[in-house]
């Protein structure tokens, strides 16, 4: 039996990789994929605690997170496609239409 802490450290590593991706990449699609990695790292933590503590609530939470991630991916990619039509690029630094 692998201790729960191993899964938690793996989840932290994946989350850190996702954060580094969001901070360093300028391609909006890659930034989006990094966010998906972070969501999955959180899911792994949920499942780890659900199985270590014998509580199903964590697994139900993962199901809801997956639904939210699907919704977020659909809307976010639609926004990226709409911005690409205006700017001909997916560089996040050119996405500044909300400047006051």
């Amino acid at each position: 039996m692998v201790p729960a802490g191993h899964y938690l450290v793996l989840s932290a590593i994946l989350f850190a990789i996702g954060v580094v991706g969001v901070l360093t990449r300028k391609n909006a699609i890659i930034v989006f994929m990094s966010i998906e990695i972070m969501l999955n790292a959180a899911n792994l933590t949920f499942v780890t605690f659900a199985s270590a503590m014998g509580d199903l609530g964590g697994q139900v939470a993962v199901l809801l997170v997956i639904a939210v991630a699907a919704a977020e991916a659909a809307v976010g990619l639609a926004i990226i496609v709409a911005m690409f039509r205006h700017r001909e690029t997916v560089n996040v630094e050119s996405f500044n239409v909300m400047h006051g």
Binding site: H6, A12, L14, G18, T24, L63, I66, V81
Partner: protein, 168 residues
């Protein structure tokens, strides 16, 4: 079990690093699929069989097809592929990430094991993550978040259609 954990963990981390560092967005998407598959395998080692199936179906299937479709639809110029931030920022981000993980390891997280005290603690572990157990939990104790999720998916669907529509 320990053997499976280490293989899946190493594959997940390496694939995630490739997602973040790869120049080619299509390769990034495919490495992300590999990450999701190894996470599904890790869910199996945690006896969450239903979630492992959903992870493969929804994440590796539906969401990643959406990503791949958009990457290929936009057909970015090759000079936009290598787009990382300036080097000092890159080093700072890497150091912060490695420091965060090192802090957790030094703090003793790898050996941490919480006490099994939940309502399902007495059940055999295989039963906890079964489709039947998750289904009955979703429709009894967690029915309200389940209904809100349905609403959220409807709103997201309408929003995506409105955003993707061409203005005339």
């Amino acid at each position: 079990m320990i053997f499976a954990f280490w293989i899946l963990a190493v594959v997940a981390v390496l694939a995630a690093i490739m997602v973040v560092t790869n120049r080619n967005p299509v390769a990034s998407v495919l490495f992300l699929v590999l990450t999701f598959f190894s996470l599904a395998g890790l869910f199996v080692t945690l006896h969450a069989h239903f979630l492992a199936a959903i992870q493969v179906l929804v994440y590796a299937g539906a969401i990643m097809v959406l990503f791949l479709f958009v990457v290929m639809l936009l057909n970015l110029a090759t000079d936009q592929w290598f787009d990382v931030a300036s080097r000092p920022f890159l080093v700072l981000a890497g150091l912060l990430g490695a420091g965060f993980v090192a802090l957790l390891v030094v703090g003793g997280l790898p050996g941490y094991a919480p006490a099994a005290q939940g309502p399902g603690a007495s059940l055999p572990p295989d039963l906890l993550g079964s489709t039947e157990a998750i289904g009955s939990a979703l429709y009894t104790a967690y029915y309200l978040p389940f209904l809100v999720t349905a609403l959220l998916l409807l709103v997201a669907m309408v929003g995506a259609v409105v955003l993707a529509r061409r203005e005339r």
